[in-house]
Amino acid sequence: MKLIRVKIYGFGKWVDQEFVLDRDYQIIVGDNEAGKTTFLTFIQSILFGFASGRGIQRFEQYRPKHASSYGGELEFVDEKDVHWIVRRVDGKGDGEVSIFRDAQEVPETMLSQIIGDFTKDDYQQTHVFNDQTIRSLFDLNEDKLETEIMSLGASGSKQWLEMASELENDSSNIYKARGIKQPLVQNIKKYQQLQKDRASFKNQQQEYITLNHDLDSINNQLDNCQQNNAELTSKQQRHQQLVEKIPKFRELQMLEAKDLGIKTEITSTDWDQFVRLHQQIETLQTSDQQRADNHIDRDEKALLDNYYANQADIDFMGQRQNDIQNILFEIDHLNEDLRKSDFQTDNLRQQNPDLTDTMTSMDQSEIDQLKTPLPKGHKIYYLGIILILLLLLWVVPATIAKIIPVIGLIIVGFGFYDNKKVTDQAAQIKQTNRSILDKHNSSGIELERVIAIQPQINALTDFKAEQHQLEEKIATKSAELKKWLDLSRKVRVINANTVPQDLIGDMNWYFTQLNKIQAKQEVIKQDELRRSQIMQSSEQDLQQLNEQLQILLSKYHVSSIDKFISEHNDQQNNQNELNQLKADQDFIGDDRMALEQIEDLEQYQTDLLQLNQQIKDNSHQINDLLTQKGYLNSQLKQVFVDDAYQKVEADLVQTRADILDQYDQWLANKLAGDWIKKMLDLASENRYPKMLANAKKYFLTLTNGNYIDININKTKSLILVRQDKVKFDVHEISRATRVQLYLALRLAFVIEINPIVDLPILIDDAFVDFDETRLKNIYQLIEDISKDNQILFVTTKVDANMPKTHVLSLEGK
């Protein structure tokens, strides 16, 4: 495809421009900022799409500032002379594209007829040369440049190589054979540790079998022990039974050894009679004794007789004993109060010696009267006026002075009258006061003092009244007491000469005596009653009773009551023992044989203790076994709980999965890198021989005829042949020459893939640093290459070597 026409609607600084291009090559000349690069970018954009507004690309978007429409069209012609127009205008994504074949619109997909499967990146990496391309070559180190040169057989080799090295890097970030920190290395370590952890767990099944075995053995032992226990317990019970019977057995043996034959037996009737008689006799004898003890003498009799004679009075006194005591107490109390009052009166008198018993208290009006002050005379005022008048005599005119004596006289007269009136009034008051004092027997004492001792006068009066009252009360109580005294004496409760103070004591003594005698009398009465009862029931007296008793005793040939009783007791004991014997026999029952068989009965006791010990030991053993069984059972349950193991197992499985994931990623990265490199190798290997024919030609031109040949040796290294036939490998040539080699090969590659992709080579001032000779060679080269592939070359320099016919100047456009 040859690009023959470029029509720009609007792109960067270009608006509505149309360029017609030469089919072989076109040199486009223009100053800086003339829009050369924009022009080349336009071609790429129409072919592969507008740059997006994002990232670095936005600088290549070249959206026009002034034109209304964005984009334009490219017209190509193919080898069959068919015209293709690619039109791209503003639209979604990278622009809206339309394709025309010979002015007929065809589907968008027909674009591939022009660009093949190339992307913009592919195109830039193969067909586009600019100063950046050259500069980046100079920046590479020798090895990299060589690698790049060697892999030039594939499109985009430089990027592929970078990617391969990145992938290698990614891969060693996951795993390195001698690494430590890489995740896969770490996980492998973890995995191996987990395997060790897992191995450290006991064999679960083995543990279960062992535990079960132990449990069976324990259960057997337990059965044995429990059986043993049952036997021992029954033996123990038997022994216990026998041991309990031993005391009774001994008793039985003892009783059986005794002679318990029947002797003279006292009948129960006789015994009952004996007891009755014996009791009656005893009662009578006791009663006689009591009678002797409770004798009432003459004095006592007299007292009693007197009492019964005056019973009403004496009982009344007895009832009122407390009242009498109260009277005595009250009299004492009243006397005490009187003494106190006397003492207070004495005190009052001592403190106020001028106080007499005759003084009476005054009422308030009298006191006010006594307080009335005496009127005073006015002599001093009158003398003052006379004196003033005398002074005036010296001062006033004579005419007036004549009346001053008159005035003086009047005043003197008035003064005398006034004085007399005051004196009369005072005499009258004094008279009244005196009569008041007389009335209250208080004369002879100062007026003020009289007023002052009024409260004391009142107190004295009160005390006197109180004393009087107390004295009256004492008299009444004393009279009352006298009445009691008289009565007591009369009924001879007290002696005639008993003083009132002893009254109570004597009365008490009297009543005590009386009670004692009365009690004695009562006992005598009771005794009499009992006696008469016994007499009545047996109708016998003591003598007769004794006789009957003797008859009873003689019946049994017993000499005394005591013996009879003892005989009866023996008989009773004998009977008891017989009963006991019978009870013991019943109690021991069939065990008698067992007890008689053994010589030493203590043996049973010893055996029992031994058995008890054995049972105790046995149950200890059972308890131990039960504990062991419980422990084993819980262990057995524990065997099933294997959370810790499951955790390790889960970790292990997880780690295994992680390892495989990481391994896959590691391997994929590694293989991807290798794959890329392999692909580059293969591509270069295949294309190089064909490429070299062209490359040799270009290299010759670029080196100005210095290098005449490029070969590949057996180790797939390039060998360069200088015009003097000396051979060099890539390392040995200068850097500038290496760059020329690279350019030669890359251009050769474009020619090589021309049958697949036939698009113009775009060169944007790539050789600006070249010297005159080399530039000349470049133009030569362009002409050579353009025979196989169209070239668009933009530059600022107008050069003499330029074939004028192919130059398109942007100046003036």
Binding site: G55, G116, D117, F118, T119, D121, D122, A154, S155, G156, Q159, E162, M163, E166, L167, Y175, A177, I188, Y191, N203, Q204, Q205, Q206, Y208, I209, N212, V639, F640, D642, Y645, Q646, E649, V653, Q654, R656, A657, I659, L660, Y663, D664, Q665, L667, A668, N669, K670, L671, A672, D674, W675, I676, K678, M679, L680, D681, L682, A683, N686, I753, I756, V757
Partner: protein, 390 residues
């Protein structure tokens, strides 16, 4: 007569990468192998089968299986109470070792030894059934065990129980269909392969698959077969038993997608009838905004997905496709290079330390390995490629 053919119960299987799930879900998952097994035995009782065949790998791990043994003992006792026999062989996972079966099974359970032997059984309808089989006593059996199976006994119906994989050679009692057919049995009850597959219909050679999916690769409803035999004609009924089903769903994404829209796309996929753990695969991930890709890689999307009743997202995978095929001018070289690069022997030689690790060795030996790695490498390159461009 009627019997159940189940295999690979894998009791006590631990589940991977479930630590972010709720405790309840984690628990239910851990119990799921038991729930599935219970379903097998419930079905046996409900359908009044004559016997149950368990064709190996009943335990996931024989080292500590007391709980599983206790569970089985109780279940087997139940079967015994219902007059149902059990025929059990051990597989490569639960191969027999000393002191392994600590808990004794009831008398209705017949466990085969490492030598092929035959049990005879008269079913309720009077069918005389012969059951031949053997157990693993080691982890790997490379020798031909099929040859040891006896010729058909004098029975009405002959069953062979075999835990192994089809193939000329291999570590798991390799067999061929011809070999099995040569025995003229009526039914081959296989175990070991977790994917349900009827290898042949006449006579039946059947993998029932495992009873509960154990990881994201064991997708779909799992279960077992109830086999009804009338006049020596076998009829198979599949009974599902998974408590949780694993599914893988691909979601096509494009550049317009946001976290919200992705969330919605996932959620619409979660409407299911049975509890399901989804692995969501975003295809064309290269079209997503790099910010969104980073966010997904951080786990943002997974953590903020709404919880639905039954559908749960287990994992989100990003799958990067090339926008165009790798540059077509070089495609030939890519393909040639791939052939040389993806070589199992070379991969094994990459790193001895890694290859010496049993899990990695087993991983490499798994049949899908190379293909998966190639896809992953491709996806990695595709991802890098967009990384470059953006």
């Amino acid at each position: 007569m009627k019997f159940i053919h189940a295999a690979d119960l894998h009791l006590d299987t631990p589940f991977v990468s479930i630590q972010n799930f709720s405790k309840q879900l984690q628990n239910d998952l851990r119990k799921s192998t038991y729930s599935a097994a219970t379903k097998v035995f419930n079905t046996a009782v409900r359908q009044h089968v004559d016997f149950v065949l368990l064709a190996g790998d009943t335990y996931d791990n024989t080292e500590r299986s007391l709980n599983a043994q206790e569970f089985l003992k109780n279940q087997f006792q139940r079967l015994k109470d219902n007059d149902i026999q059990v025929y059990l062989i051990y597989g490569n996972h639960d191969y027999y070792r000393n002191d392994f079966s600590a808990i004794k099974f009831p008398s209705n359970v017949h466990v085969f030894s490492d030598k092929v032997s035959t049990e005879i059984l008269n079913t309720h309808d009077g069918t005389k059934v012969g059951i031949s089989g053997f157990s693993y006593y080691k982890q790997h059996i490379e020798e031909d065990k099929v040859g040891e199976f006896p010729a058909r006994e004098n029975v009405d119906y002959q069953i062979g129980m075999l835990h192994g994989s089809q193939g000329i050679s291999g570590e798991y009692a390799p067999f061929s269909l011809d070999g099995l057919n040569s025995k003229a049995y009526d039914y081959w009850a296989l175990g070991h392969i977790h994917k349900r597959e009827i290898l042949q219909r006449d006579p039946y050679i059947v993998y029932p698959g495992d009873t509960q999916g154990r990881n994201l690769n064991e997708t779909g409803m799992k279960g077992f077969y109830v086999v009804s035999v009338v006049n020596q004609q076998s009829q198979l009924e599949f009974i599902p038993s998974s408590t949780y089903v694993w599914e893988r769903t691909s979601v096509l994404v494009d550049q317009a997608d946001t976290l919200d829209s992705l969330n919605q796309r996932i959620t619409t996929n979660l409407a299911v009838d049975v509890p399901t753990l989804f692995t969501i695969e975003f295809s064309n991930a290269q079209r997503l905004n790099p910010e969104i890709i980073r966010s997904i890689e951080r786990g943002d999307l997974l953590n903020y997905l709404p919880q639905t009743e039954l559908g749960v997202v287990y994992r989100i995978d990003l799958n990067y496709q090339p926008e165009k095929k790798l540059d077509s001018i070089d495609q030939r070289y890519w393909d040639d290079a791939a052939e040389q690069i993806f070589d199992l022997d070379d991969i094994k030689d990459f790193d001895h330390k890694l290859y010496n690790l049993d899990i990695i060795r087993d991983h490499i030996d798994s049949p899908e390995f190379l293909n998966n790695i190639k896809q992953l490498a491709q996806s990695t390159i595709n991802k890098k490629f967009i990384g470059e461009k953006n």
